[in-house]
């Protein structure tokens, strides 16, 4: 069974979001990393880039495939996790911690509020996973 922390919000594309003020930290879920397999490279946007909600902001390359990552909230990228350049395996080993990907200053924090709770995401996984 996937690890789904209760304090985070989740998207249908298997991203998680942790909100502090109007800044959302975004990563991919335990379920997503497990489906992808060993992650070997993460392609990020640059700080300052702007993305609309659901737009692809980067990609994750695993030994199986390259998959796009979609931002569950719109806004401006304020920080990216440079640490993943040297240690992409953090996405597999610690998806909710060292494996975080970008921090986005949200245009509309309501978008994060509208995302799934951990219980809703768990239901979503059991019906679609």
């Amino acid at each position: 069974m996937s690890n789904i922390p209760e304090n985070l919000k989740y998207s249908k594309d298997h991203e998680w979001v942790s909100v502090e003020g109007d800044v959302a930290t975004i990563g991919i879920t335990d379920y997503a990393q497990s489906s992808l397999g060993d992650v070997v490279y993460v392609d990020f946007p640059r700080a300052g880039d702007r993305f609309a909600i659901h737009e692809a902001f980067g990609s994750v390359e695993s030994v199986k495939a390259v998959s796009e990552i979609f931002t569950p909230v719109g806004g401006e990228v304020v920080e990216v996790n440079e640490g993943l350049n040297d240690a992409p395996e953090s996405v597999n080993n610690d998806p909710y911690g060292a494996g975080w990907m970008v921090k986005v200053k949200m245009d509309n924090p309501g978008e994060a509020d509208a995302m799934m709770t951990s219980a809703e995401y768990e239901d979503y996984l059991s019906s679609n996973g």
Partner: protein, 507 residues
């Protein structure tokens, strides 16, 4: 880093050429100097000389070199060694006759800048190949220039862009959406992006076919420049609504590009031009039996409607009376996409393949390719999960769904197949099927080989249930065991350096 060695046999454990080096060894002996010795400093400028006395260049004899490369050449799996069911790649046999024809001196000694009057034979060959590809695809405009599938694809999309720019003028800038099925080859969206389009993905329905309602919905959103479609699609199923699909795109003001990756299911039986397709690329290295990779070039001709022909790359090869000539004077052409005329050697081989088979033979090859894939599907459908019900065309898609309960996944099944002497199928593609295995036997295998492959797949299924560790640890019969693909991709070692421990010694 660790690599598990399976066999101790010396030919299977050949080191690097650097490790064979012994100071002073050479593979030549020069004759006695019979001219006055010159000082190298006076002949070669300082910036062109290396000052390290050729440090770290391997010092080896001729026999060292021959044995080194012969040994490592035996580590390959090749189409000449056995069945190569790599879905979407059409790994058919490359006949020796093609190779013989491609080595005719009149072709091999021809300079690409030789004048037209001295190259009539080569121009005729290209012209005839163009005519045949036009007949096979039902699309009269042909350029042989693109060097590979992805380049042929990009050429095709650039033709669409050039056509729209001319037709719509300024308004063309509002027509920049390229529709692409979610199961498409990854090169499709890349080509579209390079030609200045944005991509919208079309969903598939539960039968694995284009979702017509979603297609109409996307067309209604407007701005549609075109559609990029593979047919049969990447799950090996023929898009039965292809005429309606093309009509829908045309009514929305767009054009249809077909990815010719799967033409081996259609040659001599059905023509994309008749289906409403505007432009297609072909892979001569798939469908027309020229070699794949191995350093050998590919060839990805682009075929289009008469309407699009004025945009094709220059030079075009044309015929006036009995003379062949090159036409550079096409003001609307997208320009060159490749030096000279493309990879000429591949064109010789492809025409040789077409002439060897003739129309009847090409049709029979297609029918056999489809029959072989369906035979494998029929034999394996109770053992391996098949996500779609429709009969497959030249390749069938399976998944690991029945095996995962014992911890065995697609990657493990693929690795275990190596022990049975087969090249694994394409795995984890297309992405729309979880744990996909795309199996394309091609027409180059007979029933005995197909049965052996089916038996191997059934054995592996039994092993997955009874002795899963055997499958999880595969391969066991190769010179080295299971590779750590994740570390190889995360921390690649791309070249030998003097101060590094060799791979062999650190194993």
């Amino acid at each position: 880093m660790s690599i598990t060695k399976v066999t101790q046999h010396p030919t299977q454990n050949e080191g690097l050429i650097f490790e064979r080096s012994q100071t002073g060894r050479v593979g030549y002996r020069l004759p006695k100097l019979d001219v006055e010795a010159a000082n190298i400093d006076e002949i070669i400028p300082a910036e062109l000389r290396r000052g390290d006395g050729l440090a770290d260049v391997p010092e080896v004899s001729e026999v060292d070199v021959i044995r080194h490369f012969t040994r490592i050449s035996t580590w390959n799996y090749s189409i000449d060694l056995g069945m190569y069911p790599l879905g979407s790649c059409t790994m058919k046999y490359n006949s020796r006759l093609n190779e013989k024809v491609a080595r005719i001196g009149g072709y091999t000694n021809l300079h690409p800048l030789a004048p037209e009057e001295e190259t009539q034979g080569a121009l005729e060959l290209m012209y005839r190949l163009q005519e045949d590809l036009a007949e096979i695809t039902g699309l009269p405009g042909v350029s042989l220039q693109p060097a590979a599938g992805a380049q042929g694809e990009m050429t095709g999309v650039m033709l669409i862009r050039a056509f729209l720019d001319k037709r719509d003028g300024e308004a063309s800038k509002d027509r920049r959406v390229m529709l692409i099925p979610e199961s498409a080859h990854g090169t499709n969206p890349a080509s579209a992006a390079l030609a200045g389009f944005t991509v919208k993905a079309i969903r598939a329905n539960e039968d694995g076919l284009t979702d017509m309602d979603h297609l109409r919905e996307l067309c209604a959103e407007g701005g549609v420049a075109g559609l990029m479609l593979t047919n049969p699609n990447t799950v090996g199923i023929f898009e039965t609504n292809i005429k309606e699909i093309c009509e829908t795109i045309h009514n929305a003001g767009g054009l249809v590009y077909m990815d010719g990756a799967n033409m081996n299911a259609l040659v001599g039986v059905a023509r994309p031009g008749d289906m409403g397709v505007d432009v297609i690329h072909l892979n001569l290295h798939k469908t027309f039996s020229t070699p794949h990779g191995g350093g050998g070039p590919g060839c990805g001709p682009c075929c289009c409607t008469a309407e699009l022909a004025e945009f094709l790359p220059v030079p075009r090869i044309e015929k006036t009376g009995e003379r062949y000539h090159l036409n550079y004077d096409l003001p609307h052409s997208i320009g060159r996409v490749k030096a000279f005329f493309g990879n000429f050697g591949m064109m010789i081989r492809a025409l040789s393949y077409i002439y060897t088979h003739g129309a009847e033979g090409l049709r029979e090859a297609t029918e056999t390719a489809v029959l072989n894939a369906r035979y494998v599907a029929a034999k394996l459908k109770d053992t391996y999960h098949m996500p779609f019900e429709a009969d497959c065309m030249h390749e069938g898609i399976f998944s690991h769904k029945h095996q995962t309960a014992s911890g065995v996944h697609t990657l493990d099944i693929a690795k275990r197949l190596i022990d049975y002497g087969f090249h694994p199928p394409t795995i984890y593609f297309p992405l729309v099927v979880e744990g996909a295995m795309l199996i394309e036997p091609t027409e180059s295998v007979g029933r005995a080989d197909l049965d052996a492959f089916v038996d191997a797949m059934k054995h592996i299924d039994r092993e997955a249930r009874e002795t899963p560790e055997l499958v999880l640890g595969a391969p066991h019969s190769t010179r080295i065991g299971r590779l750590d693909e994740a570390t190889a991709a995360r921390k690649p070692v791309l070249r030998w350096k003097p101060d590094m421990e060799s791979l062999g010694k650190s194993a």
